[in-house]
Symmetry: C2
Subunit: 569 residues, 2 copies
Amino acid sequence: MQQLTAHDITVLFLSLGLLLGTARLMGELAQRLHQPAVLGELLAGVLLGPTVLGTVAPQFSAFLFPAQGPSAIALNAITTLAIALFLMVAGIEVDLSTIWRQGKVGVKIGLVSIAVPFLCGLAAAWLAPAALGRQPEADPLIFMLFVAIALSISALPVIAKTLMDMNLYRSDLGMVVISAAILNDLVGWIIFAVVLGMMGKPEGNGNHIAMTIALTLAFSATMLTLGRWLIHKALPFIQAYTRWPAGELSFAIILALLGAAFTEWIGIHAIFGAFLVGVAVGDSAHLRERTRVTIEHFIASIFAPLFFAGIGLQVNFWFHFDGPLVLTVSLMACACKLAGGFLGGRWGRMPAREAWAVGFAMNSRGAMEIILALLALQAGIIGNRLFVALVIMAMATSMLSGPALRLILRPARKWRPRDALSSKLFLRDLKVCTRREAVEELVRTACAASGLDAQSIMAAVWAREETLSTGIGNGVALPHARVAGLREPILTVGICDDGIDFDAPDGQPAHVLFLILTPAADPRAQLTIAAEIARLFRKQAMLDRALRTKNFTDFLALMSTSVGPDAAG
Amino acid sequence: MQQLTAHDITVLFLSLGLLLGTARLMGELAQRLHQPAVLGELLAGVLLGPTVLGTVAPQFSAFLFPAQGPSAIALNAITTLAIALFLMVAGIEVDLSTIWRQGKVGVKIGLVSIAVPFLCGLAAAWLAPAALGRQPEADPLIFMLFVAIALSISALPVIAKTLMDMNLYRSDLGMVVISAAILNDLVGWIIFAVVLGMMGKPEGNGNHIAMTIALTLAFSATMLTLGRWLIHKALPFIQAYTRWPAGELSFAIILALLGAAFTEWIGIHAIFGAFLVGVAVGDSAHLRERTRVTIEHFIASIFAPLFFAGIGLQVNFWFHFDGPLVLTVSLMACACKLAGGFLGGRWGRMPAREAWAVGFAMNSRGAMEIILALLALQAGIIGNRLFVALVIMAMATSMLSGPALRLILRPARKWRPRDALSSKLFLRDLKVCTRREAVEELVRTACAASGLDAQSIMAAVWAREETLSTGIGNGVALPHARVAGLREPILTVGICDDGIDFDAPDGQPAHVLFLILTPAADPRAQLTIAAEIARLFRKQAMLDRALRTKNFTDFLALMSTSVGPDAAG
């Protein structure tokens, strides 16, 4: 078998390490700024690719990411594998039963929010192909269809993440939007697969194209019915008769690989097979949570950043940046998706304000649009300029979504204890003997950092404490007060190795004290934070670990790794 | 960037899917036969590679696994990535603190069981290089060193798995063997890295080689001291300030990729860097169990089978099979490793029987020997014949280990409820009203399947039941008896949707009944099985899930996926 040389292997590992490292770093930064991680990951590729590094240090860039040769093929193979597995995870996240449960409203929004942008796109690409950057050699019909799809796609993962951040995911509105987005995803991808099929293979002719389209539709239909049923029936056998969890884990991945090979073979792209297998596997109630989580964590943490950073390597974003085109595409995308979402919501008898919210939520294009644009670029449907414009449009619409929804719906903010922690509000060694001294110390620290009046806060906290002691058991106490004029909760933590009697129901002394000061205007904040802390410290092990922390970073690490995982965004 | 064509991508996904599918299937079969999974995975490659498929259907084989071109490079890149990540996991499993805890005995065994085979190997390769299949063009000194290392390496993962299967992992003997194997692994790999370094790059000269060796030793020393400390200090920051678990997961993988790039660059192989990074990361008490498990599960279930099956693709095992060479290598390997282990054990004042057990345990070569042989083949140190002989020796010594240990130590067998379940001993719908009827029904089923005398068994079980009812709460009852002359436990399960009063401490009726019949000669079997069932049904959710099972497969799946994961072998 043809082997990579030592040089190729060095370059491969170095480029993968740098790509993943930069992508994760930038992804974290993006999330700090409340932006989707994919924005940062893409920027990492832009930094390491032709746009920045290729301009600043062309030789190093050519060494790391050669355009030709074994290293280029190796990196391409790994990012191709990465995108197929990422789409499999996207498929697993598609929960078909949500659509049935939400019923007509979701379907109406889903259909209208595809139909309106789709028709607008068709019309625009027919009337003004040049303004939209059509390549001279591109087939007009295929280009029209592509623009139509590019405008009508939504990004389920970004939408889900935005709704979760705003505590709206499980609300009626949230579930309707999610079910519409799932429908949108499914229909959009199948239409795009058909479009890719229409392009045929190089040697393709009319018959061949018809065959590809027929196979695409047949495969989609089979995977969503028979395939889904077979997988559902097979999973208990796999669980019963193979090693756990290796059996179930590899079963899912093997199916995705074979599905990918099949769809690539019939002339559409490998990712469709992986996506549809993901939908079918993820839909089975037999799939264990642990398998789902292992696949999702590994792929979302490693493969997805690698792939999105890899996109940034593809073209020079600066060189191919075309201001008017970016503006045209972005405005058109927003206008017709907002209209589609709004009209769909109104048709489903939603109030106007909620219908606008639906429009802005569905407007996120995120990762899906970028993948679509990449496939179109590789298939020669679009050129570099339109590719860059679509990527920027995808990012811009995703970034717009959160702030717009917040403005329209003004959701109650979700306070998590982890986010309110700060090193200034952390006392590792509380040297006090009584409950009163402990509370005083915490109040003093909180007020010194925030400028509140210590005396009045102490009076409020102590009054609450005297009514009913706030020791909740398991070594935790939660003294608290609601403070008029406060804008954000203030959480002050004190750890006391010796323990202080807080009159807890289980008789245990309190070792970890959380002073919770919340805005008087937000009555739910205090309950949310208290409930989350109580949940975290339900197990005795948590207290032991908290007492082993040596400093604020240790404690923050403990609180961060003990909560449920954040969605990958 | 150079792109794979649609044909390349189809071939890539198809070959990955078939390779992984066959490897997992054969790996499962091997484990059913109490053999290491790697044996089956390797055979999968032999089936799909030149040995079988290449002979039977050469055209299909050449289509799936072309020897040249982009598809070959793509597959090579992915298996190279797979092996580096697998070695990272092997490194994570190396727990340095075990060596310190076990103290001198482990170190003595570790050193002697390297030294004896190493010296034997040196001598044999010096005296009879031709009999050991030395390539005419190979450097005599490097060949001697390679044979010495090939004989002295042990396979920590296989040893650990064998000891776990025999319930000996946590015993004194087990921990001594493990600590000796860890030392063996570490020293063996570092020496091999030095040998690879001695070969130099094609353009290498004396200075260059000295530099490589110095860098290898410096890198190893740094990773095991400063690198380990830095990673330990960095982990809490990563946990505290990045998304969980993506941050920690990708941090470990990024370090492994960069470590791999570095060691490949200095002229030894990428896997050393990944291995040493694994050791350093895995050694930190800050690494969360969840991150470790996600990495281990994904890599052991997907990447390791892909890699080992890939080995089978490398050469025609039939064509290059050399009986005398296989025999020579295998006998020599066993003789000197057994001697080394035995002498080391005696030096550490172990009884002779235990010292022999140490020898047979350390004799497993497993995956590590195969990787070593592959690197030597790729580096041109050995030819195909010796490669095949080493792979067979690695498999043979691993297969010998379990039975030999069982014979020498006669450990009490570890009974797990999951292994004793059978569809013949499963009653999904127990239609009875009283405790006595329920027990009678279970006894009748157990005796019908096993040929025991129903009347005497019923008398024994009921006598036990009348002394103290066996309802243990949470809806579970465990009627039981010890039966003279029985060789294996018989576990009969009855599920009763209505529930039967078993006088449980929590007052709940019993829905899931396990009739446990154990050999009178093995007093611990009954306790082990009962304790494991009680542990499984500690949570109320387990009972609900058991009542939702529809048939035996569902129930077996539930029992299998609820236990801790099996080691990957």
